[in-house]
């Protein structure tokens, strides 16, 4: 697959040819929901019969079907459960029932990738939470700058709800099951409040710059008085940072494909995507109010983000003196810590 390095004419021909091929091969690119989905679909639903790979006897090929070891690590899976618990889980989702154990179902995904892109992908399902995630550990180079985008961990790139039919799924087609103790899992979730982690000075400065660049907003601007911001805890499973600017009533989400805590990247934070939500104007009760929109978040979503920013987060107060020559005073406060 061309990574865009070829000269124009020949390169475009190759890209088109490869694109056509990848369209055919990609019918099962994500390989998700095979048996359960197929049961609910007619032949007309699938533009082309999905291709499936037959595991070979070859050890290397077999190994490549197994989930990456890192996403089978109990500590990683606990991190994931904690993150989902803090950010997404609500009473409708939690289905503990008679469970004694906490089950994770994990499999490797292999989407069609660009040449020289060695990123790894996996899907993880948590039936007790009725949630699933797709995670990625990036490993490629941005040829234009020579920057390596190489993640240390698998981070969430997509999150979805399970409909319950997956619970009894057989461990076939590369799925593996990890069983942890439910009491231990809940204990870990509750204990994490004491171990929250926040952006360090370097990352905070990058967030400031990204904010300034993307939103034309300088949170350390010389508007006199207090500028109050609340920074949500970071997570090893999510490449994002959330900041709530109290004065502007603005909720900011910063995302990137590289490890967000890794120094480097664009010095102005331009390689981070920034999304802002004015909580006075950009919230609705339900998407039913404005079907099809990409602009809003629900009040429930906003509430959960604010919970992470205000209750679990770190509060920064920047006191800008009247005299612009004076250095701003910065105060920090984290609930539960002195």
């Amino acid at each position: 697959m061309s990574s865009g390095r070829m000269a124009s004419g020949q390169g475009w021909a190759m890209v088109l040819a490869t694109s056509a091929l990848s369209l055919v091969l990609s019918a099962a690119t994500w390989g998700a929901e095979e048996a359960a989905a197929a049961a609910g679909q007619t032949a007309a639903e699938s533009p082309a019969a999905p291709l499936t790979e037959t595991p070979s006897a070859d050890a290397a090929a077999t190994e490549s079907l197994n989930p990456p070891a890192a996403v089978l690590d109990p500590e990683y899976l606990e991190d994931l459960a904690v993150f989902l618990y803090w950010w997404y889980l609500d009473e409708e989702d939690l289905d503990l029932g008679d469970r004694k154990g906490f089950v994770f179902r994990v499999r490797r995904l292999r989407p069609e990738a660009d040449e020289a892109d060695h990123s790894e992908w996996a899907e993880i399902r948590l039936p007790a939470f009725k949630l699933g995630v797709v995670v990625k550990r990036p490993d490629y180079v941005i040829e234009e700058t020579g920057d390596a985008v190489k993640g240390k961990m698998f981070r969430i790139v997509n999150l979805f709800r399970l409909d319950g039919t997956e619970d009894g799924e057989q461990e076939t087609d590369g799925w593996q099951r990890v069983d942890l103790s439910l009491p231990d899992m809940l204990e870990e979730i509750y204990a994490r409040y004491e171990h929250r982690r926040f952006p360090d000075a370097e990352l905070t400065e990058r967030l400031h710059r990204a904010c300034r660049r993307a939103m034309n907003l300088d949170v350390n601007g010389r508007e006199a008085g207090d500028q109050v911001m609340h920074i949500a805890p970071l997570s090893d499973v999510a490449n994002e940072a959330w900041v709530y600017l109290e004065n502007q009533c603005l909720l900011l989400q910063f995302t990137t494909d590289r490890d967000i805590e890794e120094p480097g990247g664009d010095p102005d934070g331009a390689d981070m995507r920034v999304r802002g939500y004015n909580l006075l104007e950009d919230t609705i009760t339900t998407p039913e109010e404005i079907p099809g929109t990409t602009q809003y978040m629900t009040m429930d979503q906003a509430g959960r983000a604010l919970y992470n920013c205000l209750v679990l987060g770190k509060r920064l107060i920047v006191l800008n003196p009247e005299d612009a020559q004076e250095t701003p005073i910065v105060k920090e406060f984290v609930v539960g810590r002195q």
Partner: protein, 233 residues
């Protein structure tokens, strides 16, 4: 005399070859840009920026591959085209796209629809500053280095797609055109909505999520079709 002229001719050829080689190696830095976009206030430039805004580039969360991003751009355009020209039986245009209109720009700038895009007080095409800030950054990357790479390919693709759309109409294949049923629910086929970011949310209304098995997740966006309402199966 003759010998010095021959030496001079070879010398000149060598210098010319060196100049050509340097020009090729210098790329966008010294010569023509690898990627360009039409002005943001032109319809072609505006549509291109919408397509660019809705998809991930290398280094951004949700990036899978160049082809995945291209396909996502095409399907975003299909959504806009569908809302404009292919409203399914049983639906009103405003149910599908939040407004009525005769061209895709009406649906891009419709109030409360495409985040970051709107009309200014004079009715002109406008966008949030951060949209253009990102485009400028992507253009900077695309035009750096010694030869065009994925950034240039994707930006040029978005612009070409937009230009061709306004010149020729919708000529691209639609990944979701043949869908008739999802999970037992009769659907119209074709995409009519996309949601960026996490897949845990639903756009409401009669939109039906297109699952991964049918390539419903492209460029980090989940695409949705519509429930069929005309009574046919």
């Amino acid at each position: 005399m003759k010998r010095s002229m021959t030496r001079g001719r070879w010398w000149g050829a060598g210098v010319a070859a060196l100049c050509l080689w340097l020009a090729a190696a210098g790329g966008a830095q010294g010569g023509e840009a690898f990627a360009t976009l039409e002005p943001k206030t032109s319809r072609e430039g505006y549509l291109a920026r919408l397509l660019i805004n809705e998809v991930p580039f290398p280094g951004e969360r949700g990036f899978v591959s160049e082809e995945d991003t291209r396909t996502a751009m095409r399907e975003v355009l299909w959504v806009l085209h569908g809302r404009t020209k292919l409203v399914p039986a049983g639906y009103k245009q405003e149910e599908v796209g939040g407004t009525t209109g005769t061209n895709v720009l009406d649906f891009i700038t419709a109030r409360r629809q495409c985040e970051g895009f709107m009309r200014d007080a004079q009715g002109g095409l406008a966008m949030e500053a951060r949209v253009e800030a990102r485009v400028e950054y992507l253009l900077k990357l695309a035009n750096s280095g010694s030869k065009p790479g994925r950034f240039a390919n994707l930006l040029n693709y978005a612009q070409d797609l937009a230009k061709r759309y306004f010149a020729e109409g919708m000529t691209e294949a639609d990944v979701f055109a043949e869908l008739t049923s999802i999970g037992g629910v009769p659907v119209t086929g074709r995409p009519y909505s996309w949601m960026a970011g996490q897949d845990i949310y639903h756009p409401g209304g009669s939109f039906v999520r297109i699952p991964d098995s049918l390539r419903g997740l492209l460029g980090g966006n989940r695409f949705f079709t519509l429930q069929r309402k005309d009574g046919t199966q």
